[in-house]
């Protein structure tokens, strides 16, 4: 046996041994790759050995994310592995490999880009960071303004404008004032990340750089100098959920931790970022939604999908709006309210300062299939002997709108004399029509749309107030405003819109407006209906 052959055989054993060690080593650091099962209960997921979350994070956020990550791993026992780099190369890696669960670039322009390429689903705002200059502590060269950057004794470095967010933002500001070219000419070198810029100033390879202020947290010998021209230079740091993630609930669990005002956001604030509002942290948050009962077929599926994706609980109460408002006034306040009509939203302005109109639903006359009583308009409902069902004026928006409609038609008294029953929801009217205890009912188009096999619907023409507009609002004291917003975004998604339309609603998304109480003309009716509704609720 020749020596080298012996050599080679020994080396084979060595390789086998090392690979075995590597394999086990990988396993024991707690990261086995096991096929992911769907998680009905997210907290149980940690014990079933799910694989870890991968976060692609911009270098400028490294210090703060490391702090948050350690906290998260200690608190929840779930593992997160983070890859740091500059925003652009992380995005490129994501495009090619499609591996990763979360993406945190230094500026949300990258997220817009990624969303455009369909790489990102949800976006959660985290914090903002201002741009400014970095110099050695004590500012030995007295660099205080943009003009100082162009001095011949001052060496300026920046991060690469195509790769790092900080220079992108600086450039867009300076291009507007026409100063970019001269600053670019004065730049000695372009580094690949903003941290390298700080490092250069630290080891005195440069005198000044353009950075985000939080980047300087691990550099006690450096100082931040804000300058007037960069006042508008604020980067929004937002977290994106990657579309191809195989563990959306786990990814969102960590995302919520980062965005929680009593967890991740605190770290951000400590490290010099400016934070906005955030949700409170909860391992398994429970969102409460109040919605008019007619909205159930339109939003129920979206809400269930949302629950699964986020790994949270959403408890929903569908009822007549009058009843819901009474509950709210009695102190049971949900995180969000999706009302049947703006009328009822305007009764709780103190709880819901802003609202967004989402859809419209019109009143129709529902009749049994075949229209045996030959009803073609509201007037036909006044035929003697007809049994008509309507919504209760105080219990639901539908009832309230019905009264307005009757009033507008000038036939209120005649119509009311044929009304045999007033229910709190349209579904009950549908049931009664089907069982034959009613000849006709006035309800929403969406109610009719849900029962097309048994019912027909007749349009009510010429009366504009017969259309209800559904607004959505998030409570101002909600613990989870961002979560509620994401639910709203889900409700506004294309698939959800299709569902609304199929259920008989008209999609009419408006902008967020102030939720004002109704004007005095209807105030007396309001006051009356609210107190009566409250009285009704107490019974």
């Amino acid at each position: 046996m020749s020596k080298p052959l012996l050599f080679m055989i020994c080396s084979l054993f060595l390789v086998a041994g090392l690979m075995y060690w590597l394999f086990n080593n990988d396993r024991s650091t707690g990261r086995p790759i096991i096929q992911n099962k769907s998680q009905p209960n997210p907290t149980e997921g940690t014990k079933s050995g799910e694989s870890e979350i991968i976060l692609l994070c911009a270098a400028s956020n490294q210090s703060v994310i490391e702090q948050i990550r350690k906290q998260y791993e200690e608190e929840t026992g779930r593992r997160v592995s983070v890859q740091y780099g500059n925003s652009q190369s992380l995005l490129a890696q994501l495009e090619i490999s499609k591996r990763g669960d979360l993406y945190l670039p230094a500026d949300d322009s990258f997220l817009d880009n990624a969303k455009g390429k369909k790489l990102i689903e949800e976006v959660i705002p985290i914090a903002t960071m201002p741009i400014g200059l970095v110099v050695k502590r004590g500012n030995p060269k007295s660099i205080k303004s943009l003009a100082d950057l162009q001095r011949s004794d001052v060496r300026l470095v920046q991060a690469d404008p195509e790769a790092a967010a900080v220079t992108k933002v600086a450039r867009s500001i300076l291009e507007k004032s026409g100063q970019w070219e001269s600053i670019k000419a004065a730049t000695r070198a372009f580094r690949s990340t903003v941290t390298e810029v700080a490092t250069d100033v630290q080891i005195a390879a440069a005198d000044v750089g353009i950075v985000y202020s939080p980047v300087l947290v691990p550099f006690p010998e450096l100082a931040f100098v804000p300058i007037a021209e960069f006042e508008s230079g604020i980067s929004q740091v937002s977290l994106g959920i990657i579309s191809s993630t195989k563990q959306p609930a786990a990814a969102l669990h960590f995302a919520r931790y980062i965005a929680a005002s009593d967890r991740g956001l605190k770290s951000y604030q400590q490290q010099g970022f400016t934070i906005g509002a955030g949700d409170l942290w909860s391992d398994l948050p429970e969102l409460t939604i109040y919605a008019g009962s007619m909205l159930r077929p339109a939003i129920e599926d979206s809400i269930i999908a949302f629950e699964t994706r986020e790994g949270v609980k959403v408890s929903r109460s569908y009822n007549g709006c009058g009843i819901l408002v009474a509950q709210m006034k009695a102190g049971q306040i949900p995180d969000a309210y999706f009302a049947c009509d703006t009328e009822f939203m305007s009764q709780v302005t103190d709880l819901f300062p802003e609202a967004t109109e989402v859809s419209q639903n019109e009143l129709v006359i529902m009749i049994p299939k075949g229209n045996p009583h030959k009803i073609a308009s509201l007037r036909d409902l006044t035929k003697p002997g007809l049994r008509v069902g309507i919504g209760h004026e105080k219990q639901c928006a539908m009832g309230w709108i019905t009264q307005n409609t009757f009033r507008e038609s000038g036939l209120q008294q005649e119509l009311m004399s044929n009304v045999t029953v007033q229910t709190p929801t349209g579904d009950m009217l549908v049931n009664q029509l089907r069982t034959g205890s009613l000849d006709a009912a006035v309800a929403y188009l969406s109610n009719a749309a849900g029962a097309v096999e048994f019912l027909d619907a007749v349009e009510i023409q010429g009366i504009p107030c017969s259309t209800a507009t559904q607004p959505w609002s998030v409570a101002k004291n909600s613990k989870y405003p961002l979560l509620a917003d994401r639910l709203f975004q889900r409700i506004c998604s294309a698939e959800s819109q299709d569902v609304f339309e199929a259920e008989g609603f008209q999609w009419q998304l408006g902008t967020k407006k102030l939720n004002l109480p109704k004007a005095t003309a209807t105030q007396s009716t309001n006051a009356q209906s609210t107190t009566e509704a409250a009285a009704g609720a107490k019974e």
């Binding site: 020749s2 020596k3 080298p4 052959l5 050599f7 080679m8 080396s11 084979l12 060595l14 390789v15 090392l18 690979m19 060690w21 590597l22 080593n25 990988d26 650091t29 990261r31 790759i33 991968i54 270098a59 490294q62 210090s63 490391e66 592995s81 983070v82 890859q83 740091y84 890696q93 090619i96 490999s97 499609k98 591996r99 990340t193 941290t195 390298e196 700080a198 490092t199 630290q202 080891i203 691990p218 550099f219």
Partner: protein
């Protein structure tokens, strides 16, 4: 009759010769020594110790040792037959193969890493007839339960790709220098080609194999670009010492970065000395 005389002019010329040769050589040696001294004085023993006690760095150290060794051994395993074939046989496509083997050496490291990433994550070329195409990484992960990218095999693969190229070069030269006559005679004595290779050529190549292994190990140690792009630099997972320096630098921990750099210098020196001793020992 000519009397003998010393030619002083020639002596002076000889002196100048030594000066120039010595001067050029020592300037390079001096540069390296100055670099090391600069690094040493930047950090202190205490910082060195704290940096090395961090569990991330210890994990990176272990992974580095394991992956470099595996990559080096694999490189030698591949380089020996490849070097032998390139040295001994002339065949159609010889020059082409020769060039291909040198590609990883001239390719910028990031290009190598990017190419590996693309190879593993995009559908294989010409595989469009299999559904959405054959994606290597998916196949390895789901079917064979052996994930490669962003995991330790990726580190080894990235290191191997470059270090093998160097190892092949070395082994090729080694076999070029070994007289093929002896193998010819062995064959006339009744040996098969394999026998001649194993009994005659290979024993003469031990020195070369050690050199190839050393070069491969050193190259693997220094590999950074491809590992960063293809394997990521996740702490405790795919972080090797070369990427540690990058990570520490990117957080602004210059002291830790320098400490790890010095650690790598020490490792390299120890391994070089060790392997050279083994080589000398083997040759008696």
């Amino acid at each position: 009759m000519k009397t003998l005389r010393q030619n002083h002019a020639r002596q002076v010329r000889d002196g100048i010769f030594f000066l120039v040769m010595g001067g050029l050589s020592s300037s390079f040696i001096a540069l390296i020594i100055l670099l090391l001294i600069a690094d040493f004085t930047f950090t202190s023993i205490a910082e060195f110790r704290t940096a090395l006690s961090k569990p991330e760095i210890q994990a990176a150290f272990r992974l580095t040792m394991a992956s470099c060794t595996v990559a080096a051994i694999m490189s030698v395993w591949v380089a020996v037959p490849l070097g032998y074939i390139l040295s001994r046989y002339r065949f159609f496509g010889h020059r082409l193969i020769d060039t291909i083997v040198d590609i990883p050496i001239v390719l910028p490291p990031l290009v190598l890493g990017l190419s590996l990433l693309i190879l593993f994550h995009q559908p294989f070329p010409f595989s469009n007839w299999i559904g959405k195409g054959f994606v290597l990484d998916e196949f390895l992960r789901e079917t064979l339960h052996f994930p490669v990218s962003y995991s330790w095999p990726a580190v080894i693969l990235a290191q191997f790709t470059v270090s093998c190229a160097f190892a092949v070069r070395t082994m090729r030269v080694t076999f070029d220098q070994i007289d093929s006559r002896a193998e010819d005679v062995a064959r006339t004595l009744g040996c098969s080609r394999a026998g001649a290779f194993l009994r005659i050529a290979l024993p003469q190549a031990t020195r070369g194999m050690i050199t190839a292994g050393t070069i491969a190990w050193a190259r693997a140690l220094g590999e950074f670009g491809p590992i960063l792009v293809f394997a990521g630099s996740t702490r405790f997972r795919t972080e090797v010492l070369s990427t540690t320096v990058f990570l520490e630098l990117s957080v602004g921990q210059l002291d830790a970065a320098v400490a790890v750099s010095l650690l790598m210098v020490a490792m390299a020196v120890i391994v070089l000395v060790l392997l050279r001793a083994i080589g000398a020992g083997l040759n008696g």
